[in-house]
């Protein structure tokens, strides 16, 4: 199981902000590809410059392996408060 969170405009593009996947993709890039294949608008939004991902609340540098029970968040460029 993996929890996926989308913030800011990514949530609008996907039409959801949080969901749970029964099967955990092996890597962050595999998860990104899975989500992108489902929703073209999300694919476009995820491909925009400055979109980052955090795995278990730590920013991921490059691709990382995903584990059972992990939480993955996709973060558009941060806007400040």
């Amino acid at each position: 199981m993996a929890r996926v969170l989308l913030f800011g405009m990514l949530g609008d593009a996907a039409g959801w902000r949080e969901r749970t996947l029964a099967e955990v993709p092996a890597t962050l890039s595999a998860l990104r590809a899975l989500l992108s294949a489902e929703t073209p608008r999300l694919a476009e939004a995820l491909a925009r410059p400055g979109v980052q991902a955090a795995v278990d609340k730590t920013l991921a540098r490059g691709d990382v392996a995903l584990t059972q029970g992990c939480e993955v968040a996709f973060l558009p460029p941060m806007s400040g408060g």
């Binding site: 800011g8 973060l75 400040g80 408060g81």
Partner: protein, 155 residues
């Protein structure tokens, strides 16, 4: 150091009073309160998206760096997220230092960071629809002022 991310409104005066209490070696406390602007009726509400757990941790890293850089004794950041209405406080920063210069500069620095680089995603809802707001060029320039290396003091 105290970093708070909350949905509930806060009372800036009460935060400042509590922060200032019992400080025998603090010569200066500086505070900043950010309020939501109505933008001349263009913005009915502001929605701030945050990532609880992650957002405080990231703000905490910058606050800890500011404590070291400016020699602060203490810092408090309270930031709301969720839906806010014009006139409501959004952010509160207080810094405590032995002398005023460090307290002023650290508060200025933290606000520039919070306004431009902190993990929030901001949406304005008004009569002309919803729109996600990016930091302004001014916000980015303000934040970049602190990136330059400190000028060396001449002996």
């Amino acid at each position: 150091m105290d970093i708070r991310l909350q949905i509930e409104p806060f009372d800036p005066g009460a935060l400042l009073t509590a922060f200032s209490e019992g400080r025998l070696e603090t010569g200066a406390v500086v505070s900043f309160t950010g309020l939501m602007r109505a933008e001349g009726g263009e913005a009915d509400t502001l929605e701030l998206d945050a990532y609880p757990g992650f957002t405080e941790a990231e703000i905490g890293r910058t606050a800890a760096a500011a404590v070291a850089r400016f020699g602060l004794q203490d810092v408090l950041v309270a930031h709301r997220y969720g839906v806010m209405a014009p006139g409501e406080p959004i952010v509160f920063v207080a810094t405590a230092a032995a002398h005023r210069r460090a307290a002023f500069e650290a508060a200025d620095h933290l606000m520039d960071y919070l306004k431009s680089r902190a993990p929030f995603w901001k949406r304005s809802r008004g009569p002309s629809g919803d729109r996600w707001i990016e930091p302004t060029t001014q916000d980015r320039q303000d934040a970049a002022r602190w990136d330059a290396p400190e000028p060396k003091e001449t002996p």
